[in-house]
C-alpha cells in the first residue's frame, strides 16, 4: 500500500512542472531508467547500464569517485574562503589569520580546504596506481589514461599555486624555490620564470597571478578534463573489469598460441 509521501511524490512527478523539467518522463521500466540517465545533462556522461562487477568496491576501491568528491569539497570551501581573502601583499596574510581566528567557522573551512587538498593529491596517486596495477590503462583506454595524467598535473599545479596564497614564510620560500625550477628549462627558462611571477621575485604580481591561476584558470581546466575523463569511461566500454583470472600454465602441457580475431 503506497504511503502518503509516495502519493505526493507521484503527484509531483506527474505534474506539469516536473514533466517540463525532466524530459525522460516517469516510469520504472528499464527504458525509463535508461532514459533518466541518458537525457540528463550531468548523468549522460555516464553509461546508462553498468555491470554489477564494475561497481563493486573491489574493482576500483572507488578511488576516482573519492578524488572527485575531494574536488567538490575543494570547490565549495574554496569559493567560501574567497569571500574573505584579498590577494594583495598587505592583506593576504592578515586575511588568512582572520579566517583562522575571527571568522565564524573560518578555521574549519580553511582546514577542510587544506586537508582535502592533501587528500586529493594522495587519492589521485592511489587512483593511478590502482589503474596501473590492474592494467586498466590498456586498449581502448590509453587515451583516458593520458587525460588522467593531465588531471594529475592540474592537481599538482592547483596544489602548488594554492601554497603561495597564505603569504607566510613557508609559502614565500616554497614558491621561490619552486618557481626557480622553471628557470632550468633550456633557453626560455628565465622567460617562463618572469611570466609566471610577473616579475623577477615573488611579489605582489606573483601573488595575484597565482591567485587567478588557483581560483579560475586551473579549476576550469580541471572541470573540462574531468568531464572528458568521465565521458571517455562510457565511450571506452565502461569501467574496466578483469574478464577472468589468468590460468596458471601447466608445465607439461604444450603451449598453444592462438591468434585472437578482433
Amino acid at each position: 500500500m503506497p504511503t502518503k509521501t509516495e502519493d505526493i511524490l507521484a503527484k509531483v512527478r506527474e505534474g506539469r512542472v516536473w514533466q517540463s523539467v525532466f524530459r525522460s518522463g516517469t516510469g520504472s521500466s528499464t527504458l525509463h531508467r535508461a532514459l533518466a540517465i541518458q537525457q540528463n545533462i550531468f548523468l549522460h556522461l555516464f553509461a546508462t547500464k553498468v555491470r554489477k562487477r564494475m561497481v563493486r568496491f573491489s574493482a576500483t576501491w572507488y578511488l576516482g569517485t573519492l578524488t572527485f568528491g575531494t574536488f567538490l569539497i575543494l570547490v565549495i570551501t574554496g569559493i567560501l574562503l574567497m569571500l574573505y581573502y584579498h590577494p594583495s601583499v598587505p592583506q593576504a596574510y592578515a586575511d588568512m589569520k582572520d579566517l583562522q581566528f575571527v571568522v565564524s567557522s573560518g578555521l574549519f573551512l580553511r582546514n577542510l580546504h587544506r586537508w582535502s587538498a592533501q587528500l586529493m593529491v594522495f587519492l589521485v596517486f592511489a587512483h593511478m596506481f590502482k589503474v596501473f596495477y590492474r592494467g586498466a590503462y590498456r586498449t581502448p583506454r590509453e587515451f583516458n589514461w593520458v587525460i588522467g595524467v593531465v588531471l594529475l598535473l592540474i592537481t599538482l599545479l592547483l596544489s602548488y599555486t594554492g601554497y603561495l596564497l597564505p603569504w607566510d614564510q613557508l609559502a614565500f620560500w616554497a614558491i621561490t624555490v619552486g618557481s626557480n625550477l622553471s628557470s632550468a628549462v633550456p633557453l626560455v627558462g628565465n622567460k617562463i620564470h618572469f611570466l609566471l611571477l610577473g616579475g623577477n621575485q615573488v611579489n605582489a604580481n606573483a601573488l595575484l597571478r597565482f591567485y587567478v591561476l588557483h581560483c579560475v584558470v586551473l579549476p576550469l581546466a580541471a572541470i573540462l578534463f574531468i568531464a572528458i575523463h568521465f565521458w571517455r569511461i562510457r565511450k571506452d566500454g565502461g569501467l574496466y573489469v578483469q574478464q577472468s583470472e589468468p590460468k596458471p600454465q601447466q608445465p607439461d602441457e604444450p603451449t598453444v598460441i592462438k591468434k585472437e580475431g578482433r
Binding site: W173, T176, V177, S179, N180, L181, F194, L195, G198, G199, N200, Q201, N203, A204, N205
Partner: protein, 163 residues
Amino acid sequence: MPDQVHTIGKTLPTEFDRRAFFTKIGLGSLGIAAAGTVVFSYEYLSPNVLYEPSAIVNAGRPESYEINSVTMDVNSGIYLVRADEGYFALNAVCTHLGCLTAWNQDLGIIACPCHGSKFKSTGEKIEGPAPKPLPRLKTWVSDEGDLMVDRSTDIPPLQYLRI
C-alpha cells in the same frame, strides 16, 4: 572541336579553384590571428613596469666595515665583504633554487638553509647542491663616498674594490 578541347585543357578558374583559394585565405588569416594572439598574450603577460626594490643598493660608508668581515644586508640580499685585498659584494641568493643564504660567523662559511649548500666567504662553493659559486656584484664608490652595489650586474671573481 579542337578549339573546345584546347579551352578545357587551359586551367580556367573553376569552382574548386575558388574554393581552394578561399580555404587558403581563411586558414592563412586564422594562422596570422593565432600568431598575433600569442604575441599579444606574451606582451600582455610581461609587465613593463615593476614595483620591485631598486637593483642598486647604497651600502653606507666603506670605513664602517672592519677588515676581514662579512656583513649581510638581509633586505637587499647581499654580503659586503672586506678582505685584506679590498671590498667586494656577493649575491646572497643561493645559486641552487634561490633561497637566501646566511653567514655563519663561528664556522666562517656561508650556508643555505634550504638544501644545505655551503660557500666560502669569497663566494666559492664548498659543497652542493648549488651548481655555481655565489656571484660577485658590481661595486663602486659614489660621489658622496658611499659604497654602492648593483645587484643586477655580476662581475668575474677575484675582483676587489680598493679605496
